[in-house]
Amino acid sequence: MTPEPRLVEVRRKVLKQNDVIARELRERFASAGVFVVSLVSSPGSGKTALLERTLVELGARRRVAALVGDLATENDASRLARSGAPVRQITTGTVCHLDASMVQRALEGWDLEQIDVLFIENVGNLVCPASYDLGESLRLVVLSVTEGEDKPRKYPTIFDTADVAVITKIDLASAVEFDWDAAEQSIQAVRPGMPVMGVSAKTGEGMDRYIGLFDHR
């Protein structure tokens, strides 16, 4: 007769290693006075277009920089670099999310004292990035008017981890019959009290209020 296995109690968060690095990053950012904003969304929500405009507008007054995660190409970094801000690409290969160690590596050689606001654009994915703290101060979840108002209910986990919901492409809202109330209800259902703002990176509508999120940090 085989003896029963023995059960040993342990308590260990599976992502402890990531959390430890994220905490170190957060401390480094705080001591260098960098306000760090991450953006998560599904592919094609317009994160890069929004960030492009953000870097130009906010960059006129503050020292901005960006890290941008992508599976394969460096197209996003080239687009963003046109703003003149320091930009680095994190190419994740087949990995579907950024983690804290990728951010840590991407920052090597950068003088954080020279940055006021650092943006981190995650890989377009509403599932996996939810599990990873990147050491950011503010996480934005970006949702475009072309995606459907019920998306928050389909991906409650990512909304749960975010601080502000940004609705993009609002210049297309009437063309796609976007229902603001339904979207707002859907967001408030999964994350009660979450601030919601609409922007168009194309026309600039809503940009002032949006930029106000990080302008005085």
């Binding site: 296995p5 059960l7 040993v8 342990v10 599976v14 990995v95 409650p156």
Partner: protein, 114 residues
């Protein structure tokens, strides 16, 4: 699909603990909340792949799914939710932004060879 990297993290930790205790892992007990962002079935599938041809091959991953527990500011009571699609008190309907449980992703016990 980040469950494979999660599975590898779990296996690394369990292997380390077992080595430290001069034993071999035959099972891992995990607490998993719906707001952890990890899907149970995908994790179980990944676990089998990740343990193949390792000392943990054939070991079991036991997942204890914990519910979402929120605090209702109106009732002043913790409440268990049926669905994470609607963070509201099941008794009085108030919005419940304060999530107390449901984000767990942690190893709580290991089964080791005696």
């Amino acid at each position: 699909m980040h469950e494979l990297s999660i599975a590898l993290g779990i296996i690394d930790f369990a292997t380390e603990e077992a080595t430290r205790r001069n034993s071999r892992v035959t099972g891992i007990h995990l607490r998993l909340g719906p707001l952890s962002g990890v899907v149970k079935d995908a994790l179980l599938f990944s676990y089998d792949i990740a343990t193949a041809d390792t000392p943990l091959a054939g070991s079991r991953l036991v997942i204890d799914e914990v519910p979402v527990v929120v605090y209702c500011p109106a009732c002043r009571e913790p409440r268990t939710l049926e669905s994470m699609q609607h963070l509201a008190c099941p008794t009085c309907g108030s919005p419940t932004p304060e999530v107390r449980e449901g984000r767990e992703l942690e190893v709580v016990a290991l089964e080791l060879e005696p």
